[in-house]
């Protein structure tokens, strides 16, 4: 009966660590609206490449800008891109996924083929395509990332909605005379919401990475807007002089993505009734 057991983190640890990291990210963004140690874009050439000190916690960059202030301000872009891009993905993905699940036949095939088509493009490639067509900038980056999110959500929505529709209570609702819209909102959406929430946190993490990558390539946030990706790009030129300038935004991106992924994992465990029943 005794099993060799590895020490495991206590249940729910990933949920709380994830929530703490995401909370810190949100707090950083919120604080940056009212206070940063220095104006994030303020250039101060005499103090360029200052090492971390009491005056500049994380030092200054090649133009003497305060790194801590830029990091705080940069979190805003990350969150903005994440929220809006995931929002776009959810709105279109859920709508198309539900239509596909309810319509069956030709319409379902068409929607799924279209999302396969969108899905087949590497996210970054389609983002580069969009921003190079319509010009770089945060708005276009958001749209590009949102367009990438929609088919992911649509596929998940269709698959989970189909499994709900195969349940007897969906048939029972039809037998009671309810129409497809009522069934979609009353029966399908509440039952698939947990998987959508989990997927949304993961897409959020992907969106943050994508924004950083686009800004790094110069296709996302434009100066003087602070962005972690842009900080990385600028740090690259002076990597041998001041490697820490690349480390700070890199760590910020990594911690945010890690936090969101842990939160997604934790939520999945917490929201999955089967896992809950086993504990």
């Amino acid at each position: 009966m005794k099993q060799a057991s590895r020490p495991r983190p206590p249940r729910g640890a990933s949920l709380w660590i994830g929530a703490a990291l995401v909370g810190a990210l949100l707090a950083a963004a919120a604080i940056s609206f009212v206070w940063t140690p220095y104006p994030p874009a303020a250039i101060d050439i005499p103090h360029k490449f200052a090492p971390p000190s009491a005056a500049h916690w994380f030092g200054t960059d090649s133009l003497g800008r305060d790194v801590a202030s830029q990091l705080l301000a940069g979190s805003r872009i990350s969150i903005l891109v994440g929220v809006v891009a995931v929002g776009i993905g959810l709105i279109f993905g859920v709508a198309f996924g539900l239509v596909a699940a309810f319509s069956r036949g030709v319409i379902e095939d068409a929607i799924m083929k279209a999302s396969d088509f969108l899905f087949a493009f590497p996210a970054l490639l389609s983002a580069i395509m969009l921003t190079s067509t319509y010009g770089p900038g945060v708005v276009n980056a958001i749209v590009a990332i949102g367009v990438y999110n929609a088919p992911v959500i649509a596929k998940l929505t269709r698959a989970t909605a189909n499994s709900v529709l195969a349940r007897e209570y969906a048939l029972a609702a039809r037998a009671a005379g309810r129409g497809p819209l009522a069934i979609a909102f009353d029966h399908v959406l509440p039952n698939i919401a947990p998987s959508l929430i989990v997927q949304a946190t993961i897409q959020f993490a992907i969106a943050i990475l994508a924004e950083a990558a686009l800004s790094y390539l110069g296709l996302g946030a434009q100066p003087p807007q602070a962005s972690w990706g842009r900080m990385l790009a600028e740090a690259q030129n002076v990597l041998y002089n001041a490697p820490r300038l690349a480390v700070f935004p890199g760590v910020a991106i990594a911690l945010s993505v890690l936090g969101l992924n842990l939160l997604g994992d934790g939520l999945r465990d917490a929201l999955d009734p089967k896992l809950r029943a086993r504990s």
Partner: protein, 324 residues
């Protein structure tokens, strides 16, 4: 006549061709009457009951005629059909565990058809739902209405399902294996409840079951289905005591009997039902039939009527009649 089904044929369209799951079924049902549909899994009994509700899957092709209160249901628009469902025709499902949405309170689910078809306000429908739950003799209806499905037992859930079905006083209730998932004692009480509700409101019942004892105890007439075809129909007592079709006979003989001795083997029907009911030439039961003769495998059996009420689809039905 409340319900007249004639020549009902249901074909499931698959990539490999059309598969006929119900083949020319005909039966009628009067106000207040109860009809049992009995058959093995895959005999087409569930598909038949879904067709009455207009709930056959998208890839099913329904032809023939289903007249309900004089209205033709085959080919009726989804909108009109939806107006009937839950109002004039209601359905009780097999699995009370899964037929209620786990995320909504029981009372709200019972109230749903009332809001939909009777235009009641949420509050009025909620109050009526508690009355309905009381009517199906749930011990504490107010508590049951506030509960989520997982908080109720299987029997309680099935009572709630019934309350949901009878809310709008339907003229016809279709119960597809309503007690199969329940304990025998609970089963008996649920069936008594359905009988009682039927007696007071004169609603008609279609009871789908594989259990001959359930059909015998709670139906006026019975339809015996095999591989999509109705092989025998008639008044319950007559059919189950003097079957005029070898399949009905075999089914009756395959029942476990009280008083059987240890070591006695349960009688079974050799072979298994055909998997694909492509338009077989002869009688679908002929490969397994102990009385099959040469013609059975060659020609479809004719409908042989005995009086106005009984029908058997068998080449040798008349001989069976003489023997019994």
């Amino acid at each position: 006549m409340l319900l007249e089904v004639s020549d009902l044929t249901i074909e499931i369209l698959t990539p490999t061709g059309a598969e006929r799951v119900v083949n020319g079924g005909s039966f009628t049902l009067d106000e207040g009457e109860s009809l049992g549909i009995v058959g093995e899994s895959g005999s087409g009994k569930t598909m038949t009951s879904l067709a009455l509700m207009g709930l056959t899957p998208e890839n099913a092709l329904v032809s023939g005629s289903i007249r309900f209160e004089g209205q033709e249901l085959v080919g009726l628009g989804e909108e009109e059909m939806r107006a009937l469902r839950g109002d004039r025709i209601a359905m009780v499902f097999q699995e009370p565990m899964t037929a209620l949405n786990p995320l909504h309170r029981v009372g709200a689910q019972v109230a749903e058809p009332l809001i939909l078809h009777r235009g009641m306000t949420k509050a009025a429908a909620g109050a009526r739902a508690v009355e309905l739950l009381e009517h199906v003799r749930l011990a504490d209806p107010a508590r049951a209405a506030r509960s989520y499905p997982f908080m109720l037992s299987g029997g309680e859930r099935q009572r709630a399902m019934i309350a949901m079905a009878i809310g709008c006083s339907p003229r016809l209730v279709i119960a597809d294996e309503p007690t199969t998932a329940l304990d025998v004692t609970v089963q008996a009480r649920i069936l008594e409840l359905i009988d009682g509700l039927r007696a007071e409101s004169r609603m008609a019942l279609v009871l789908v079951s594989h259990d001959l004892a359930v059909i015998a105890g709670h139906c006026d007439r019975v339809v015996v289905m095999y591989a999509g075809a109705i092989l025998e129909s008639g008044p319950v007592e007559a059919v189950l005591t003097r079957p005029r079709n070898p399949y009905t006979r075999a089914l009756l003989e395959a029942r476990p009997r009280p008083g059987a001795r240890r070591g006695d083997r349960l009688k079974t029907i050799p072979g298994s039902p055909p998997l694909h009911h492509e338009a077989a030439q002869g009688c679908p039961f002929s490969p397994r039939c102990p009385l099959a003769i040469e013609v059975c495998g060659r020609a479809p059996p004719p409908e042989i009527k005995f009086g106005s009420e009984r029908m058997s689809r068998c080449h040798r039905a008349r001989e069976l009649d003489e023997r019994s």
